[in-house]
Symmetry: C2
Subunit: 433 residues, 2 copies
Amino acid sequence: MSDQKALTELTALAARTRAAQRALGSATAAQRTAALRAIGRILGEREAEILAANARDMAEAADLEAPLRKRLALSAAKLATLRDGLAGLAQSPDPVGRPLRRTELDQGLMLTQVQSPIGVLLIIFESRPDAVVQIGGLAVRSGNGVILKGGREARHSNAALVDCLRAGLEAAGLPADAVQGVEQRGEVAALLALDHHIDLVIPRGSGALVRHIQESTRIPVLGHAEGVCTLYLDAAADPETAAHLAVDGKCDYPAACNATETLLVHQDFVPRLAPVGEALRAAGVRLKADEAVRAVLPWAESAAPEDGSTEYGDLTLAVRVVSSLDAAIDFAHAHGSGHTESICTEDQAAADRFLREVDSASVFHNASTRFADGYRYGLGAEVGIATGRIHARGPVGVDGLMTTRWLLRGSGQGAGDYGAGKRSYTHRVLPLS
Amino acid sequence: MSDQKALTELTALAARTRAAQRALGSATAAQRTAALRAIGRILGEREAEILAANARDMAEAADLEAPLRKRLALSAAKLATLRDGLAGLAQSPDPVGRPLRRTELDQGLMLTQVQSPIGVLLIIFESRPDAVVQIGGLAVRSGNGVILKGGREARHSNAALVDCLRAGLEAAGLPADAVQGVEQRGEVAALLALDHHIDLVIPRGSGALVRHIQESTRIPVLGHAEGVCTLYLDAAADPETAAHLAVDGKCDYPAACNATETLLVHQDFVPRLAPVGEALRAAGVRLKADEAVRAVLPWAESAAPEDGSTEYGDLTLAVRVVSSLDAAIDFAHAHGSGHTESICTEDQAAADRFLREVDSASVFHNASTRFADGYRYGLGAEVGIATGRIHARGPVGVDGLMTTRWLLRGSGQGAGDYGAGKRSYTHRVLPLS
């Protein structure tokens, strides 16, 4: 397909998604709930079909690496988990039209700010076909239209799952076109050019994918570019707590964006670092450390300049020494990625300063950086983790898929009716319910 | 100054702003309040100096058009208004650190989402030196750093006012570098390239300026590209209300982005359109109307295809006929700019549908489109009006300058302590205070 033809077809597809989204977004909460229940039911009815499609993908992807094959594989158990997730979304409060602010501007002139769907989302994801149902379900709950661009290796599975979502919408009397699947690799570039038709791009995948997409589009992108997370062991850190947080932060899931990559150590804590070092060594962690640390942990390797700014994604940990709390905060600002930083200390004043002054999406005291996660934060379904500072920051739940509208209910007022010698505004803030 | 030299110097300036912003944002509310009061005091002390700088600008801008000269001119009265604004900001609640959500994840593991400054703002504005104080004050209240790029015609005035802001910060023990003024025309392009140093651009000026900036930067832009606002006269509109809303919407301030540009008329209302037409004619409004309207208002001009999608900015109004409420909503979606649409009707069901289904930042019933404004909405100081759908939408108050951080206070927990057969999350939602 030529670039121009792809652009024309995808523009039309995005326009259909927008029109369908408007119907989905202005439907009742009960209709969106009915659609979520119908999707769950249809997933059950079509289980054999979906697993057959997945078997085709698995057969065609025989030379894929083992971890990717594992992510690609569907099973009856995985489908049951997806149906549970849909049932949970069906029971969760509908965010569309939720009032955020009510103000009486004057008698008979009532302003309400309400939550509204953002519009048309473009989700770009790799391997895992589960994402179709998880994100499609979130889109239905939040009244957003969604264009799902999955990996080519999962195309049969994704197509079967997208069909279930569309059938579920139709069963609830809603337009199927609110959910779209696209699968050609060349389509991504064309979609990223549609900044008048697509309102938000959510890439789910590696930091490299996110960065590539951010650099290729004018559409706002919600995602985490990278996670260089820091654990700072303060002068007043408890060595046992420090060891637990360092091992958990590094080893619980080293490939995750919220894994600890840098251990900052106050110079006064260095003499008590041995048990922390031994716990890390026992967990198989390789240290890249400053010389002062190597005096205590002689088995550690020497740090190079980039250690402390690097997302290793494996069992490597930078260990750098700082002279003060201020120096630790400055180091995190200069070398971290603004994702998550944690202080380990028994000194409440130091903790308070760290939580007040560190300018990262998540800032912790005596807790592992691994807690920076939508599920652990209790946000329900997680849309992703945002390292941007605009719109959403940190773990993002369904609220990250919402914008607002201002509704004003009047009784014939003009703005020229107000002013000196005329009517005045009351600006009375009213309770939300 | 060469482009490269400008880029190097402005990068350093932005980095200084970031460092100073971190101090401003983690200072106490009382310090930010003290800075606002100091700025007000210093504006009073330096009044003669400021007016002299303004007189220089006025003298050099002798060939400026009259409306621009009026916007450029400062006076003792204007300065008093600015001081009043600063006093209001000093009394207004400090948004930094305000808790938005509190959740107990487990005993001794407490999550709080708090409001935080976005970081470094770039404000690009024309003519009005008042903006320096208004926006500089908002930045101080919200803990944001700000780079103020004013028009060259106001450079002496702007410089004098920026000096007052910086002196006020220093008087309160805060770093002056949180507020910066730049004035060279060539600097805008260099600043717009600093997407790692500047977090948000707010252009204050024409739609053309906003569009140009949106197309020239990867930094998120908060602003209104254009305002093509619609008033829809439903079949059940009251003719007197219709006339009042149409005249107010078009004539109260025709150059404003919230002025009504398009009158949509239900075909069944056309026979009752005469008094609305006469009221508009009496107010000096020129109509570009469909033929069915011209049958009733023969003095109206014929509409061309672009009428209904045009921001006139003067006393011109498109008048287009639609066959139904659905057609009116579709017309607004297809031709409006998503800024503000209003329905005039006595039919509550029609109003409810319009308010539910119209996907614009502001949607009104029986009220003039001119109410779409931060002051009228009771938001206090207005940052601007956003026609984007991400981060902020519609009139934006100080909340539009805020992002969030997630603070987690633990007692040594690792994420691996939770799971099957281990500890479970409580996820208890707690009250905010």
